[in-house]
Amino acid sequence: MMLKLFTATSLGTACVLVAVFGLANAPAPAAAADPVEPGTFVWHDLLTRDVAGARRFYGELLGWRFEDTKRGDRPYIVARAGATPVAGIVDVSGIADAGTQWLSFMAVANVDTTVALFQSGGGKVLVQPRDLPLARVAVVADPQGAPLGLAQMRRDIPGATQPTASHFFWQEYLARDAGQALGFYKQVAGYNAAISDSRLGVEYHVLRKARGGAGLFQLPANVTDVQPNWLPYVLVDDAASLAARVTSLGGRVIVSAAPERRNNSLIVVADPAGAVLALQKYPF
């Protein structure tokens, strides 16, 4: 009887362990339904040569708090807004060619086939696909050179479905060739695109998915010092009033608030090391 009880208990325990730890830690086969809808932006990493400066800047500006963790033998800092993890900080000071920048990660159905799509479209693989606990990830540069992280999520991550202050809430593609980028990202992520605004000779395309979304517009021809990129947006209560704070913390305001730019709701800033992101109030 004891043997029977032990066997039954052991089998039950094994089933539970396989079900729970297996889902959490082992590479998963392609799921029938994606845990996160492809095209959703799921994570942001700051690649920087000044980790201490980044902690000071974003902690003071956005109220983020930081947790020291490791990825393998390398330090990795997780930033939280309240209790929610919102971003990571990676030290790239040991990499000669690395520019300080925010790297956004888009959910895809299959990292390997998506990487192949970027390659066949003229893009480059910057980091080959690899397995992490939450996702299979890769980093690519798209056909216009914009860097982008790809994440095949194994499960959803906590996050608000509506914009929340001090969280990333929007993503914008600044294109050299808007038509090419639209076609490419429709293919990558299955976006539905619609023009929401057209002024000053610039069309603004909203890339829609069920959760969140993104925008896309063409860089004016006379802007030559900005290359195509995915610009991340953090929600703030009053972007215009934060401009002075950005400067006092050692950052730079590179696009200031103005009535013609979304009704004074937007500023684009560079942190002390030069990483660029947008701060915006929404609705505006």
Partner: protein
């Protein structure tokens, strides 16, 4: 199987499930953290495009 043994078995399973759920809810694996050498897209963050039409839409 008598009721005492059944209760013991249920308790063991409950402890295992609770431990597993606590472990799986830890966020030690959150984030990505891969590094790559790729030039910045803003020329050091000294200027940005002056035109921002449109905007977020939920």
């Amino acid at each position: 199987m008598n009721s005492a043994k059944r209760v013991t078995r249920i308790m063991i399973l409950a402890v295992v499930i609770a431990a597993a759920l606590v472990a799986s809810s830890c966020e030690g694996g959150v984030g990505v953290g891969v590094s790559t050498g790729y030039p910045a897209r803003y020329g050091g963050g000294t200027s940005g495009p002056p035109i921002f039409v449109g905007g977020p839409s939920y």
